[in-house]
Every structure is written in C-alpha cells, then in structure tokens.
Symmetry: C3
Subunit: 326 residues, 3 copies
C-alpha cells in the first residue's frame, strides 16, 4: 500500500538509527543512508525492516532490506545482504524507527494549521455551513456539502457529490464519490495501538489512512480509525448506522449493511454483502466471508466462511443458536 498522506522524512543516516535504538553494532557504515521502513517482503535495498516472529522466517530469508530489527535467535534467518540490528523488543524498536521516518503519524493533536473555509478557494465550490474549518493538503470535488462546525483536518480528499454533515472531524481520509457522512463522526484518527509500558505507554505510528469508497453512508457518531501499516477501508455502497466503531486496519467489503452500535476490532476483514445486526461485536484479526449474516448482539470471536448466518456469543450457526435458546 502506498499512502498518499504521510510524508517519508527519509533518507535517514544509519548513525541516527542506531543512536535512537541505543545499541552498538560492529561493521556498520554509519554514514549510509536508509530510505524507508517497510515490512520484510516489500522492503528494497537501502530500506530497514523488522522480523519479530519465527513464523515469518521464510519471508525473512528473501528480504531485500539492508537492515533488519530482530532478535539474536532470529537473525540467523536473514540473508547476508541484510544486517541484523539485535534489539530487546523488536516491535517497540520498529515503532521508534517508524516514527523517525514518519513523525506525523503518531501525534494526533488537534490540527492547528487550519483556516476557515471562507478564507479558502473552496468557498466558491462547496456548499458549507457556519464555522467550517479546512486544513492543509485537502481536495474537495464538485457538488459537495459540508455542514456546520465540521473540521476537515489535514490530508483529506473528498470526491464529487458528497454530503458531509455537521460536527464531524476528518483527517487522513480519502472519501470517494456520492458518499454521505452524517453528524458527529471522527474519521481518520490513529487507532488504539500502543505498547503497554508501565507508567507510560508507547504509541506506535499509524501511517495508514481511511478509505471510504463510492456511495457509502456513515451514520452519526461513528469513529473510524485509520490504519497502522495498512488502510482502513469501507467498501462501495456499504451503509453504517449510528454509533459504530471501526478500528484500525479493518476492511469492509462492498454492499454491506451494518446496524447501530456495532464494533469491529482492529485488522478484521469483512467480506462483501455482509449484514451485521445492532450491537454485534467482532474481535480483531478475523476473516468474515462474503454474504455472511451476523445477528444483532452477537460476539464473533472466530473466522466465518462465506454465506453463513450466525448469532450468539460466541457466534455460532443461527439455527443452532435459536434451537438452543428456545
């Protein structure tokens, strides 16, 4: 995935990288420049990558990265072209280095580099309410409406014929055409991702964005977090009811229907034509197939194959659920 929004501050000198990790490494040309941080498979020569679990050892063997954050036990899997930087906690170190390349991706303070829409070129193009604010790096298509008190923070692209309601806050988000976002939503903030550390947790970077495809509708009070290393995606013509929470890296297929107060935890993938009843919750890192129907109030804690209808907590076949609960 290439994200249009977060600027890569690389190249970064090796000396700066090892200084920030507070480690010593022999045989290292400290003036060498590293271009980017990527995962094992997409790294190129002169990139740094990370390798924290044996299950990725086959990918590690073929990485093209020049440097790799890893452990003493795992470094043997790396090719000769890739120098291991042995660290205590690979993910924490990855977080630190990512934040050097992408410093903007951690800090989600309010956007103070913003102006009233009245003072921008959008004032002649967009139908807008009172007190609308527009940040840097914003594009808005034709025939759009933006309601009162809505804040379009930095890094937002809005397509044609979109209707954005009032009191919304949007950043790091790509909205395609004919999308409707109702009121009171917060879209594009970082997700709930951090390393728990006593007395002072460490936030990791979120360099993904939120992508809302054509013809979607997002209900009132939604929170849709942007991705950490990938994007959060709402597929074409998918409708979300009120008070829904979509965590970082979630991907929802097209033509899905999601009722009120549903929550989808981080990195779960939801198929096409999926129907989810009110207040259902879906755990993180799950795969929910196409045409799946999930009853209201369900708690989904396992993958669901295509075409299944489930209900319950934990969710199971809906007939079984209803039979067991007559």
């Amino acid at each position: 995935m290439s994200n249009p929004f977060f600027k890569n501050c690389g190249p970064i000198k090796v000396s700066e990288i090892i200084r920030s990790l507070n480690i010593n490494v022999k045989n290292l040309s400290k003036d060498k420049e590293i271009h980017d941080i990527k995962d094992l498979s997409s790294s190129e020569n002169n990139d740094i990558t990370f390798f924290h679990s044996k299950k990725y050892k086959d990918v590690a063997k073929n990485t093209k990265a020049s440097l790799c954050l890893t452990t003493d036990a795992l470094k043997i899997y790396l090719p000769k072209s890739c120098l291991a930087l042995v660290v205590e906690n690979v993910l924490v170190s990855t977080s630190k280095i990512t934040s050097i390349f992408y410093p903007d991706s951690i800090n989600d303070d309010f956007d103070d580099n913003i102006m009233s829409i009245d003072d921008t070129n959008f004032k002649d193009k967009v139908i807008f309410g009172k007190n609308v604010l527009i940040g840097q790096n914003v594009t808005i298509g034709n025939n759009c409406k933006i309601g009162h008190n809505t804040i379009i923070e930095k890094n937002v692209v809005i397509g044609d014929n979109c209707s954005i309601g009032s009191n919304n806050i949007i950043r790091n988000t790509l909205v395609k055409n004919n999308v409707k976002i109702l009121d009171n939503c917060v879209i594009g903030k970082h997700g709930f991702g951090f390393f728990p550390i006593k007395n002072k947790n460490l936030r990791y970077p979120h360099i993904g964005m939120v992508l809302i495809e054509d013809n979607c509708e997002i209900g009132c009070g939604a929170t849709i977090d942007r991705g950490s290393m990938s994007n959060t995606i709402i597929g074409k013509n998918t409708y979300l009811d009120n008070q829904i929470h979509i965590a970082h890296n979630v991907k929802i297929g097209e033509n899905s229907i999601i009722a009120g107060q549903v929550g989808i935890a981080g990195s779960s993938i939801i198929g096409k034509n999926v129907k989810i009843g009110g207040q259902a919750g879906i755990s993180g890192h799950l795969n929910i197939g196409n045409n799946v129907e999930i009853g209201g109030g369900s708690g989904v804690i396992r993958d669901i194959p295509d075409n299944k209808k489930v209900m319950g907590y934990p969710a199971k076949n809906i007939r079984e659920f209803l039979r067991d609960n007559k």
Copy 2:
C-alpha cells in the same frame, strides 16, 4: 398520525406517478390528481396506497384509496374503486412515490437555511450560548436554554422550561415541556431505512418526527432517529442515560429508565415504567410490556409481556438466567 413538519407536495397528476414508476396502465385518466400517499386503512378517495403482503388483505378490501401499488397476485383483493398499479417491488415503488409527495423527507443533508440565533427573535427570549444556529419553522417556548454550538435545524418545536445542552443537532422534533437534553445528541435525523440495491442502495422517505414528552431527560451522545411512516416517541418522564441509540418508529412509554449504551432497533414498542440495564439491545418490531425490567447486557429478540423481569442473550426470565449461570 398527522405530521406537522413535512409538506405534502400533492396533488400529483397520475401521469407523473406512472411515469416515475415506468409502467403502462390501461383505462387510466392520466390527468386525475392524487392528493397524498397513505397506508391502506387511512387512505381517502384520491389518495394512493400500497399493498405488499397477503396478511393485509382484509384491510385492502376496504381501502378508500383510488390507486394502489401492489402485485399481480394481490390485486384481486382490492375493491373496484381502487385501481391496482402492478409493480415489481411494491416497497421500492412506494418509496419512489412517497418521495414525490414528500421530497424533503429523504435527504438529510445539513440544513443550510439557518441563521445565528443572534439574528432571530429568539435572542430576547432564550438563554443561549455561543454559535447557536436556528433553522426555519422553529418554535421555542418560555424559559429555555440552548447551549454552545447547538444547531436547531428546521422543523423543531420546543416547549417551556427546556434545557438543551451544547453540541446538539436537532431537526423534525417536537419537544414538550421541562425536557432536558444534555450534549452531543443528534435527534430527528432519518433512520437506517433503505432498500439494499447492488452498488446503490435506495433510501426510503422518513416522514415521521421525534416526539419527546414532558419531563424527559436525554443523556449525552444520544441518537434518536425520526420515524419513517409513524413517529418515534419518548414518553413522559422517561430518562435516557448516555450513548443511547433509539431507531426510527420506536415508541417508549412514560416513566421508563434506560441506562447507558442501550440500543433499541426500529419500530419496537416499549411500555410504561420499563427499566433497561446498560448495553442491553432490543431487536426491531418487538412489543415490550409495561413494568418490564431488562437486565444490563441483555439481548431481547422476542416480545415480553407486562411485569416480567428478564436477562440474558437471548433474554429470558431473570431467575432462570441467574440459576443457569451460577
């Protein structure tokens, strides 16, 4: 129910109706004028109605409507005075025709026909905060307060002694006396009602309103959707805690107490003196009796008679639930 807010654009010529349905009908006086669209029982002569399920055949036999959207199989139940318009999907067609009579009832874009309260007559009557906006067709009683950034959009009546907090958005809503609405609520938007159509869902009209009776309190972050063909009603002295979602057409009786994060799906009827614990969910189209108590976290998927105490998912007798889960 007669709704004071949505203007009927009728009469509409028969020719316009059949053109929008893209059908051919013989023996039709195309210049005839149709006054309104109503359900089978409340239609009058010169109205159009709809009939989509055999279970309404007895009502259909006696309808006074002049036209009826229906199917080939059902048209035989209509009286001679009522001409059948046979369509592929009765509800979709009903939606189309309703939107001709009530075009304002589908589109819930932000209200841009609005002004600062400072520029209205309310400025001498209401105690109000900064950045309060008032739309068209708004009435406000004596001794009311309206907090900062609150947007009273079009079609709102507020009684006496009401306290509206900050950051609220209200439209198509009738608020009676001594009502308290806290902060961040969205009240009176259309419900989550549409026909799922591949690539482009079709919203159906919501010509109902939200009615909030005397002495109610609505907690922070509530979403209360207006009704589609009837009203959404919060009964007298009913208190809602924070983050509650009330879907379209729901009716809640008086003196009820609803704890935080509860969700009530569309068209369910809740009795008087009902207590609902936090995070409970109630499916759509249910009847919950008077004096019912629903334990926190319950998922209610069946009707509940008067005076019952239930808990669980699905909700059952609370003693049984506690006994089964020692």
Copy 3:
C-alpha cells in the same frame, strides 16, 4: 474526599432544613447552624448526616454529626449527641438537603458564564483552535493544546503537557499531566442518578468530580460522569479507546487498557493493570481486582478477584467459557 469545586453554601439554619423536609421536630434549637452534609463516618459536630440501612448501624453509633436523616426503626442506633430527623424516604431527603448545601451540583445546564479563550489570559499560554470557550474557575498548565470548538466549562484544572482535542465538553474535572483527550468527549457531567418518581423524577446532587491521572489517554466520544458523593477516577497511564462510557463514582486503577465501546456502571472499582476487551459491560457496585483480563463482549455481574481472566455473559473463567463454547 474533599472536592475543590463545589462550593458549600453552609452554614444553613436548622429551621431551613426542617422546613424543606416538611417535618416537625420537638426539642430542636431552630437557630442552630449546620455546616455541611457528610456521610456517617466523616461528619463532624454541627454537620448533618444520613442513615438509611441497618448495615451501617455500627458506623451510625459513632457518628459525630449533630443531625441525622433516618427512619423510625433506625434512629435507636444513633448516639445521644445526634438528633434523628425521621423522614419517609431517607435518600430523597438526603438529596434535598444536599442540594441546599450544594445547589450547583444538581443542575447541569450549559455553562453560560463563559468566554472565548481569546478574551482570557490563556491566549498567550495555550495553543488553541477556533471557537474555544473557557468557563470560571479554570486553571491550565504549561504546554497544553485545546482543539476547535472545545468547551472548558467551570471548575476544571488541567496540568502540564496535556493535549485536548476538538468538540469536547469538560467541567468539574481535574486533569493531571501529559493527558491526552481526543475528540467529542463529555467529561464531568452529572451521572445518571435520580430517584424515580412518577411523572417527575428527582435528581440527586453530584458533588464529586472526575479525576484523570498522569499520562492517561481518553478516546473519542467518551462520556465520563462525575461522582455523586465521591469522585470518578481514571488511574495513571490508563488508556481508553473510543466510545466508552464511565458512569459516576467509578474508579479505574493505573496502567489499565480499555477497548472500544466498553461501559462501566456506577460505583464499580476496577483494579490496576486491568485489560477490558471491546463492548464489555461491567455492572454497578462491583470490585474488579488487579491484573484482571475481561474478554471482549463480556457482561460482568459479579466481583472478580485479582489475576483472573474472564469472558462471557455472565463472565466466567475464560478457559471454561471457551471450553463450553467450542
């Protein structure tokens, strides 16, 4: 607990107290002045207290209060130094008397005694967005940010290095250092506490505050209610995800992690290092130990000892839950 925010309007004459209770008491020096209302154990001479349940009889025996709201059956436990005021409903009467001492603690109308931050001394100290409002009795530390449309109402202390997002409403809250509050939160409003009375419920006073300790993060759309007689507390370095509801008097220990859409009902105590999965709900008045892990979607209705992992509704040992639901 001593609350820095609510001003005690005492001393109040005994005559005013008995008049508001609409009772007659013999042998009472009506000109005597009562200084405060406190619970049985913390009352001092010349305070009024309340005693509504036999389970407090041992504390009652030693109260130093001069007056006590109680019942005919319970008054025998009071010491001679404490005169019983026998009332029909002790808690309702307590509520009435508390509201005489602390009239500001019941009414949570929007704060209209507020000004634009541009017109305050904070304008040179704080980095702030558009339309930021500041109430009376507010203190803000060094290096703080306050986002657009955020309303810091009366009685708020914010420490150093805090980042407050946009569209928040905060009152009666003490925020320590390095705290991050994202967007759309309502913090410090009264809780959902009242006496249900037909046709017109009676709200009781909330004289507690919200206390957010160092290094916390509060996600978007949170509602955190202030305490009634004690404080609502979020412990050091505890992180809350989006759309969380924390009711009045809840206390959460340090280093806890609470995922999206969780709700915690009134007066529950959560330990340190607790992890709570998304959409879990915790009933009121429970004790959850240290290092407890609660699975997503759980409904907790009983106390949980230290170090337990639970899941389910009602929540039970997580292994048992998973085994029973294979």
